[in-house]
């Protein structure tokens, strides 16, 4: 039987005993929504958006597919926590406890490694922000979502929840009502941001929901890379993550969004990620789903303008106790659009990896093409792996190819590597690493290293 | 007698509106063999495709006249019926249609009213002449054929359909010496007073076996020099540089 997966557990599994200046009541009610808005001192239009979302939430049914959310009692979740430190600009000014937490999570290192700026979320509030002067000079806006609502209302109003309206599904409605934290990025026309921007957050208190909202607007001709990575320690009660990422790629712009999601093993991760791409724009989603108990995550790209492009690369890992329902959706709405999807999954120790994909070529998307490839590796016989792609083509000039393969590690390959001196577990680990490599190499180095270590441990555990 | 006249032909690739043919002038009389040589990427293949009316390209000015008929508005199959033929550099694989029955049907389209049995016998004979494995004739059109077999399949088609003007687009690429000899023999025996042949090639080797009457050097979208067979040998020795240079100086 496999051991627990996280090698560097000590790095993540602890709870700081931080004081919170405010902890909301459990459960979701309209008064809670008003309370949250009030505490954030939000303008009226945002409060209204929250209330509309809340009403939609009360009306919409649970999704008719995906993981079973029967055990998730929304009445038990604490939606909003405000830790005891106001927004800071310099690292040294933060309270010691919070600094220690972040040091353990490696933020200052990341900073030192010349990442452009890290907006770190600490339990529903962005405590630490640092925008480098370069970004400011370029006119790039990178700040926490709450501040953006106040400082750039016109811009935010134009885009906030326009890609994923509250009425989209039950959890987007929930998100719209109680969202808190997250980043806002605006890149002006033709500005190419060379260093990737990074946001980092974690859940702390038991039963705390995470509802951060990331909104990225890449104006015409701009280029941006954004890295989002998160982790949370393990708790007894159920943890919930209903975040949202909306990305608007305007004409000729290019955005790459990388995530490694490594939530603790009792989290429900019901995230929504969507990008709308205009003419000649390009969107790249690089996703690694490693943690959480149950995940429903389908990065979606809507190719709205002519010659828009999408590339979805993903790794999903379903270990003991995990049910991962992940996939990708690409919707072609304009001519000459193209997309590539490469989804790889590993299931082991009783885990269940389910790939759900949608590829929709609308009538207007003439002369479009798409290539989708999903490969799944089942390490042992307790796990399960499924793929269910839906491919829908509505015009006569497009070309679509879809391929999937599910299997185990090739015996011949193991034999070959062992004949060169590797032990069986080393050989297996190498093969699995090779399997994820094409996608893994797109991730930032720290994550790739973590991923490899995780794989090693998992494989060795499964043989013993 | 004038068979093919191409005058000041300009053509663009529709997708990008990029001009590929920049004023091509070629005149082929019946019984002649013309060779068109040029560096890679100069648009030689495009010339063949435009003659054949490939809808990917659009003629922006100039004219193509075959045996007195202006081909300008004609579709590909109409041009074939007028007697234009092209051997493809990368012949398409068409599963489900056997080469034999395809040829019988195609020749019917082009006016050949012989009985299928007569046609079939002819096809067999042509296969033998071209050292073309008889089995291949009963296989699906070009499916699974090696490079050399595909080229031979094109030649068999040419000989069977008997067009007036043949454009051979790099028929020699990828061929070993034996195949080259066989194909060259077929081309030479095909040549007659009733037809004309254009050989598009990059290497001079083919022209040792099929000696052209005229050689044209084609660089960057148009013919920059013309001459006799000696021109081919000169290029063999000094390459295309000279012509590319002179063009730049213009």
């Amino acid at each position: 039987m496999s051991r627990e997966a996280f090698v560097d557990s000590s790095r993540f599994e602890f709870t700081s005993r931080t004081d919170y200046s405010y902890v909301s009541e459990k459960g979701f009610t309209e008064s809670l929504v008003r309370e949250i808005s009030g505490r954030k001192d939000e303008p009226g239009w945002m409060l209204q958006l929250r209330l509309n979302s809340f009403r939609a939430f009360s009306r919409i049914h649970d999704p008719s597919f995906g993981v079973d959310t029967g055990l998730l009692d929304l009445g038990e979740i604490v939606a909003y926590l405000k830790p005891n430190a106001s927004r800071e600009r310099a690292w040294e000014d933060l309270p010691v406890e919070i600094r220690e937490t972040f040091e353990k999570l490696g933020i200052p290192e990341a900073e030192r490694n010349s990442l452009s700026g890290a907006g770190a979320q600490y339990d529903s509030e962005v405590v630490y922000q640092n925008i480098k002067r370069e970004l400011e000079e370029l006119g790039v806006v990178f700040l926490d979502m709450e501040s953006a609502v106040k400082e750039y209302p016109e811009l935010v109003k134009k885009y906030f929840m326009k890609a994923v309206p509250a009425t989209d599904h039950k959890y987007s409605a929930l998100h719209g009502a109680v969202w808190s934290g997250g980043s806002f990025v605006y890149v002006p026309k033709n500005i190419k941001v060379k260093q990737p921007l990074q946001a980092y957050f974690r859940m702390n208190a038991a039963s705390s929901g995470q509802f951060e909202h990331t909104l990225i607007v890449a104006d015409e001709g701009s280029e941006l890379q954004f890295i989002e990575g998160c982790s949370a320690p393990r708790f007894n009660e159920l943890n919930l993550h209903v975040g949202m990422v909306e990305i608007f790629v305007l004409k000729g712009a290019r955005v790459r969004y990388s995530t490694i999601q490594n939530w603790s093993k009792n989290t429900y991760n019901l995230n929504t990620k969507r990008a709308i791409v205009e003419e000649d724009g390009t969107m790249e989603w690089i996703s690694g789903s490693l943690g959480s108990m149950k995940t429903m995550l389908y990065p979606t790209t809507v190719l709205k303008g002519r010659r828009a492009r999408a590339e979805h690369l993903g790794i999903t890992y379903a270990g003991p106790g995990q049910h991962m329902d992940t996939g990708s959706k690409v919707i072609h709405l304009a001519p000459e659009t193209s997309s590539i999807v490469d989804a790889r999954s590993i299931s082991t120790g009783g885990g269940w990896a389910f790939y759900r994909g949608l590829l929709d070529i609308s009538e207007r998307a003439v002369n479009s093409k798409s290539a989708v490839q999903c490969t799944a590796m089942m390490i042992d016989n307790d796990s399960r792996s499924d793929t269910l792609p839906i491919i829908s083509v509505d015009n006569s000039s497009s070309n679509i190819g879809h391929e999937a393969r599910i299997g185990r590690i090739s015996e011949e390959q193991i034999f070959y590597l062992m004949s060169r001196g590797l032990s069986e577990s080393e050989a297996k680990a190498m093969i699995v690493r090779g399997f994820v490599e094409p996608v893994a190499k797109q991730f930032p180095v720290e994550y790739a290293v973590e991923l490899n270590r995780l794989i090693n441990l998992e494989i060795e555990g499964s043989i013993g | 007698m004038s068979l093919l006249r191409v005058e000041n032909l300009h053509a663009v690739l529709k997708e990008s509106m990029e001009e590929i043919l920049k004023g091509v002038n070629v005149k082929v009389n019946s019984g002649e063999i013309h060779a068109i040589m040029g560096p890679n990427g100069s648009g030689k293949s495009t010339f063949a495709h435009v003659l054949m009316g490939n809808p990917k390209f659009k003629v922006t000015s100039g004219s193509i006249t075959l045996d007195g008929v202006d081909l300008g508005d004609l579709s590909t199959d109409e041009r074939a019926k007028q007697g234009m033929f092209m051997t493809f550099q990368h012949p398409q694989e068409i599963p489900g249609i056997r080469l034999r029955s395809f040829l019988i049907a195609a020749s019917g389209e082009l006016g050949n009213m012989e009985s299928p049995i007569m046609k079939s016998r002819k096809i067999d004979r042509l296969s033998i002449d071209n050292s073309f494995d008889k089995d291949l004739v009963d296989r699906y059109l070009n499916v699974g054929f090696s490079g050399g077999e595909k080229k031979k399949s094109e030649i068999v088609q040419m000989q069977f359909l008997k067009p007036k003007l043949v454009v051979l687009d790099e028929i020699d690429s990828g061929l070993d010496v034996d195949a080259l000899k066989v194909i060259s023999k077929s081309i030479n025996s095909f040549r007659s007073e009733r037809n004309g042949i254009i050989l598009i090639t990059h290497y001079e080797r083919l022209l040792e076996y099929v000696v052209p009457d005229y050689v044209h050097v084609y660089v960057d979208g148009s013919v920059v020099a013309s001459g006799g067979p000696d021109l081919a040998r000169e290029i063999q020795q000094s390459g295309y540089e000279r012509y590319a240079v002179s063009l730049r100086e213009v």
Binding site: S392, N399, R408 | I97
Partner: protein, 401 residues
Amino acid sequence: MEKSINLKHGDKTMVRPSRKEILDFKDYGDRDFLMACEKFGPPMSVYVSDRYSEYKRLGFPDWKRTNLRGMSIPPMVSRFPRKSTDPYLKSMNWLSSDEVELLDSLDFEGSDRKLLLLGDIFFDSGVILSIPDGSVMKKPFLVGRSDSVEQISNNLFIAGEHSEIQIVIDSKASRNWFLQNNRFLLKRGSKVDVLFVNHLGSEGYGFVNNFYRLEEGAVLKVFEVSPFSGTMVSYHLGLSAGKNSSMDFEPLFLAAGNTNLDLQFITRIMAENCNGQINGTGVAIDNGSVIFRGNVDMRRGAKNSTGSEHSSVTILSDGARADAIPCLLVDENEVNASHAATIGSLDEERIFYLMSRGMTRERALKMIVRGTFEPVIERMELLFPENCGGLRNALDRRVGR
């Protein structure tokens, strides 16, 4: 009952997609049921009564992709089947209790439970064909000749151990409405080839639900040619229950005019060393629409088995559309499961090549479509030399009028 999809793994479940029903559908009632029952012997009556209670609780499915709302089911007719003189053939009404038990053991969901039950209860024709152990049938067995334009039939085919038989299910005439449930039991070592040719009128509806249970060493090959008009819902579930068995489905389809095709193939493997293959080839033209679902389902116990699915659809007109839903469900790691689906358009380079040899564009199109189907038809002809006549022309006629 063999369900179409399994949504549980250990202690995890997946949310089951909801099933919507059409309201105000003119359904069969108790009187129709009694009329249908008149012809049954006692064991069959009991079996059918149970089904009817389930039938009554369900409405007709309101599907997202294939619309059944405008449909009306044929009026119930009282018909007593003739007794057959064929030693292997028996009318479905007069099953013994053992045979009814067998029928019950081969219960499945079909494209929809309501539709399957309709066929099981209200059929007006149905046979059991039972081939004894070891017999090798020289000529194919033909099912389906009938003069009526509407038909509900229910058949059971039993191939004895190590027997060999070919079955052709070809109505030979266009129908307005037909529903057919076919159950096949392939006993150990048997070899069964089936050819379905479905004919349907342009406003018609056709439903075919097929379940194949393969025991050890059994070999199944299925060809299906789908009709060129109407709304056709075809469902095939193959179950490899015994080791070393193999199933191979090769459907061919052309959705022309206003045809709607909804085709589903499931190869479910539960034993070792088995092989399940699905290879679908089709063309959608005019306003035709195709949904092709190919499910490879490898269950626990399917060690060293291979499941593969391949579908290729060419869309030739702007009004046509195609959906492919290739599904791989794997619960056993020592298997090879793969699928590949392509949906494509006309290859202009191919058209150009053919036109350069003098074919008009129309002719070139026909040639390419014919070429798409040709390899499959040739394979069909090898197994069923006398039953494929006219297929090529029928396909040809629908393309490029």
